[in-house]
Symmetry: C2
């Protein structure tokens, strides 16, 4: 029953009380009172180590609690414009067009499908899990003829399979799930993009980066990816509620020259493009009310990413992933991805030990103050669980999120007789 | 230059610092330090008196700053389920089906159009401003044949006009903008619904309640309205980012028995219905990640509405509106709505005095700490401005939002020579 990883005291790992409030309280007794509160809050809050929503930095939480602000107030316009500029840096797409729209990440599938694919056109989905199935279903709703190239659960299609599919017909669009959150499988988008450019240069490439943007290496412009889409609550470290994408100029032209009528209103590039351009030019504009507080929070988080540098962020997520996966394997657990090469750095999907009941393990880990996620893939959901390691939990190691998570898992495995 | 309405000290009208933090600080000095901060914050924050986003109650702001929580964590499921139940009470639709989806209010147009209207079917839009034009455009994107019944700027179509339109063809759906935020015009939905039921009982009725739900009298079930749609940032008093609607069982059946294929993925009733039912049954479920913090904030706000009672809320908004409109007219300003009967209770749209330049007046009012909105209707936007009076600003009079707003307008009119 000895713990090999020290669990830090709660007050040190979740200072969620807004930092500006802490900084602004002049007297020592005020700080001390807040510290007590902070400690209480931290103890009642379970560490959220699922593959999104992820833990928030205190400055991000603080930005969520701003007073009501007009969506066309100068202060907000400045922050919205800044967030758009920062997205280009985070996506490494200096000439791309960012979009920030109120919605879930799923909305960016609709936006991709409805703006870039006309009814009857062919789309190839590089499928590494259930999110590939669902993206394909969404594309079909907007009239695409969808072909999936698939792999067994836990694996990814080979480049040869993809090349073979590309030789069968001319696709308007290829979509790739960078990290399938249901399997923890990682697609080699760099090689896939290179292959598509060789075999079918006119074909557009869309990367579902919901569980990867900000953590996995993506060089949107250099690699020639036309659409990278994501959501606020994963490696971007912001609460859920924003659909985010950066679109290449080539793809914008395809959308602008569309022959079929529009098939979405709220998700229309033509509606949102002038709005995004206006805000970036620091001018007021209106199509639908933006999520003011979420955008303020996103801007804070993007500033943090850019300040540290994307290469550093990518490296730190690789290190965090290795640390978690090494520990899990050391305890005799088997990863869902068939090998480390196809495993994501943003989460670890791992089979339950044979002697342990899944719900009991999740509950036990929860009793030690950490929330991890069950399986998501419909055919396999009861066989595995998932641990997210993104943003502050992977990058700010002084918060000991990884240590506390690993300690909670190890302790739970011991209590359930696996270790 | 005398002010007839006293402007209260800033610290009394915007206590935005989370109340739980204030309550939890035990020592007097801690409270005193926070009060100073609170005062500083309040002074730098301009009162947001536009027709949405509206000012937030401190408890709502506090809920926005909660730490990261899994979207399937028991605590969150309880709050999401509670929010759904409360929506039925706020909409006075005990048998209606609530939907809460990440997005802007505009998304609810797409959801209404794509789920309830099949391509080629006829829809009648009762148009009282630009939001009617846009809702009509959205319906067209999803294949509806749209007929508008219109009125001159500032007025609303008569019941006779609507009856005449209903006699021309069989409409699948009639849509009514309850309060057109661009004109401040109020539609008599009770009488319109009665008329539609007499003339064409099979026709579905959808009410765009974006700038009315929670403030204007709506008895969804009693009046037989099939869809009431809104957004979080208006009279519901929550930050922007949630698309909210309550749908009748009759309309759900229409959506379920649809013959044409789906025309939206993210906005699909079929996708969201089991999710909403699960959360209300306090069970985890997943289609797309909900906006956890916004839903927690919404739940707090809905609790406040229901605790006070909807009839009281409706009455308080009528009183607030009368107070603002009486003052504006007393100063010689002319309302955009042609008479009080067609004027909304949630905002006042008012022409600039002839001798005053619009941008100067807005800037002057801003210099007195209050933000109001310019015109929105494309053909008339430079001629008028808009003052929102919803939720805490209309209901919690002890915060003196209305007094401060009227004082700022009066003072500005004086400084610009109108008074």
């Amino acid at each position: 029953m000895l713990r090999s990883v020290r669990i830090p005291r709660p007050s040190t790992f979740h200072p969620w009380v807004p930092t500006t409030i802490l900084r602004s309280t002049a007297s020592t007794s005020a700080i001390s009172s807040l510290s007590v509160l902070q400690q209480t809050r931290a103890m009642s809050h379970k560490l959220c180590m699922i593959p999104g929503p992820v833990e928030f930095d205190a400055a991000v939480t603080n930005a969520m609690a701003t007073p009501a602000t007009s969506h066309v107030a100068p202060d907000f316009i400045e922050k919205f414009g800044s967030a758009l500029e920062l997205l280009r840096k985070v996506f490494l797409a200096p000439n791309g067009q960012p979009f920030i729209v109120a919605g879930s990440g799923t909305l960016t599938w609709d936006m991709t499908a409805a703006n870039l694919v006309e009814p009857g056109e062919d789309v190839l989905v590089v499928n590494t899990g259930v999110f590939g199935d669902w993206f394909g279903e969404c594309l079909g709703v907007y009239g695409a003829n969808v072909t999936h190239v698939r792999a067994p659960f836990g694996d990814r299609p080979t480049l040869e399979q993809i090349a073979e599919a590309l030789s069968q017909k001319k696709y308007k669009l290829v979509t790739v799930t960078h990290v399938d959150t249901s399997t923890g499988v990682f697609a080699d988008i760099k090689s896939i993009a290179k292959l598509v450019k060789e075999k079918s240069p006119e074909t557009l490439i869309a990367l579902d980066g919901v569980c990867s943007v900000g953590a996995e290496e993506i060089r949107q412009e250099e690699w020639g990816i036309d659409v990278v889409l994501t959501a606020s609550q994963k490696a971007l470290g912001t609460p859920p509620g924003l659909a985010i994408m950066v679109v290449s100029q080539r793809a914008l032209e395809v959308a602008a020259n569309r022959k079929a009528g529009p098939t979405t209103y709220f998700g229309s590039f033509k509606k949102w493009l002038p709005i995004m351009k206006s805000y970036e030019a620091r001018k007021p504009s209106y199509f639908a009310t933006p999520s003011v507080q979420l955008i303020l929070a996103l801007e804070v988080s993007l500033q943090q990413l850019v300040a540290q540098g994307m290469d550093t962020r990518f490296a730190k997520h690789r290190e965090a992933s290795k640390k978690v996966k090494d520990a899990l394997e050391q305890w005799g657990l088997k990863l869902v991805p068939v090998n480390r090469e196809v495993a994501a750095n943003t989460l670890s999907a791992v089979y339950y030990p044979e002697t342990v009941k899944g719900p009991e393990l999740l509950q036990k880990i929860g009793s030690h103050g950490v929330v991890v996620a069950g399986g998501l893939h419909p055919q396999h959901s009861t066989k595995y669980f998932r641990v997210g390691h993104m943003n502050v939990s992977a990058v700010n190691l002084e918060n000991h999120h990884l240590d506390k998570t690993l300690a909670a898992i190890e302790q739970s495995l011991k209590e359930l007789g696996h270790l």
